[in-house]
């Protein structure tokens, strides 16, 4: 469950994120909480929905969830900071997940991390300054025969090499700037 929610990365428009997300989160947070008010046991489910909606868990939403579910704020924060499926900082438009499991590691996953870090200038867990990419590392994706595995926005790329990865990042960046020019 946690792994699937990690991989189900929704496409998010990063431009004008702040304003849109605020209005959006106020409206949809009501929908999420509806029917689950005063049910503390629903905390994790509600936080998962918030994570799916916003791509991260904003502070304001934690305060709202705490009030609506009748859970102390520290408890909401404790749960949100404990699970790896919840992010407390906004993630970029595209999420690159590098598998560092044993099989991928043996086949050179470290080189993928170095490539991503070098090309985007962010370390794992970070987001580029233009908000386009977030780099994450996971310990195993369960696709060990395909290693090294890199996941871009929920799509698996097998048997990666630094060169293939570099081209992939370039193509995403090109597609993105094209889409922005057309819009």
């Amino acid at each position: 469950m946690i792994i699937t929610s990690l991989l189900q990365v929704k496409h998010r428009d990063h431009t004008g994120l702040h304003m849109r997300e605020l209005t959006m989160s106020v409206k949809s947070l009501d929908v999420i909480v509806e029917g689950r008010r005063s049910q503390p046991q629903q905390l994790i489910e509600v936080l998962q929905d918030v994570q799916d909606l916003c791509g991260y868990i904003p502070r304001e939403s934690m305060i709202t969830v705490s009030k609506e579910l009748g859970v102390p704020l520290i408890e909401v924060y404790r749960v949100a900071s404990f699970y790896k499926a919840f992010s407390l900082v906004p993630s970029g438009k595209h999420v690159i997940t590098v598998c560092l499991g044993t099989a991928c590691h043996v086949r050179g996953a470290r080189r993928m991390v170095d490539q991503v870090a070098g090309q985007l200038g962010v370390s794992p867990g970070g987001t580029t300054s233009d908000g386009l990419f977030t780099v994450e590392c996971v310990n195993c994706l369960g696709a060990c025969a395909l290693g090294p595995v890199v996941v871009l926005d929920g799509v698996y790329y097998d048997k990666m090499t630094p060169r293939k990865l570099s081209r992939l990042i370039d193509s995403v960046r090109a597609a993105d700037s094209e889409g922005r020019a057309n819009a």
């Binding site: 502070r59 934690m62 102390p72 520290i74 408890e75 924060y77 404790r78």
Partner: protein, 228 residues
């Protein structure tokens, strides 16, 4: 329903009320089980692991924390076997390596028989015993502080790191914190941490009567339930 049960702690038959934990009963009967995170009147968490005992069941013994173990009829508990002493010494050694800058932690290490510390000193300011968190939640109902993060990043913090309005700064969390009791020689600087061990004389009696509480002054340091 009977409200009392009879159990055996270190071979001594004792009578206890049904809702008590093994640690409470042992302290009441003068059997010394070292403990750090246990505070009377507050719920137990089993965070420090110092109060481990052997629970013998069907000829097998299971090591578990006595503060979270409820008494049962015909229970057999051993608090001072070689195995327990060795495990407890190692736990105390890890604790003192993590946070040597406290008389309470140093006293516990001494009480548990730590002679040398094989781990690098980290000089942290928190043992994650959770006394403050439970006090804030249970006694005051404030829940202003709590555990945040996971694994090695776990820490005690306010929500989002900001003191909320409903924290009235009563400071009772600080009163209960074992880290606020500085070592007798003053605070240790980073790089100068060491095992104190100066109060060893306190434990001479304890060597003769290993499982009995000798009301050692060390207990005062770590807020032993006997002294509370």
């Amino acid at each position: 329903m009977q409200n009392y049960v009879t159990l055996t702690i270190d071979g001594a038959p004792v009578r206890a009320s049904r809702a008590d934990s093994v640690l409470d009963v042992a302290i009441e009967y003068g059997i010394c089980i070292p403990h750090l995170c246990h505070v009377p009147t507050i719920s137990d968490l089993g965070a420090c692991r110092l109060c481990i005992v052997e629970h013998v069941q069907n000829g097998r013994s299971k090591v578990t924390t006595s503060c979270t173990l409820r008494v049962q009829e015909d229970m057999v508990i051993r608090t001072n076997t070689d195995k327990i002493r060795k495990l407890r010494r190692n736990i105390a050694e890890l604790l003192v390596a993590e946070a040597p800058n406290s008389r309470a932690v140093q006293d516990i290490a001494l009480r548990c028989g730590v002679k040398q510390v094989r781990y690098p000193f980290r000089n942290k300011t928190c043992t994650l015993c959770g006394r403050c968190v439970r006090l804030c939640a249970e006694l005051w109902g404030a829940r202003a502080i709590g555990f945040v993060g996971r694994g090695k990043d776990r820490r005690v913090d306010f929500p989002f790191g900001v003191r909320p309005d409903f924290c009235k700064e009563c400071n009772s969390c600080i009163d209960l914190c074992p880290m606020t009791i500085t070592p007798c020689d003053g605070p240790m600087k980073t790089g100068e941490e060491r095992l104190c061990g100066k109060c060893e004389g306190q434990l001479l009696m304890n060597e003769n009567f290993p499982d009995f509480c000798v009301w050692c002054a060390l207990g005062e340091g770590f807020g032993c339930a006997r002294h509370a």
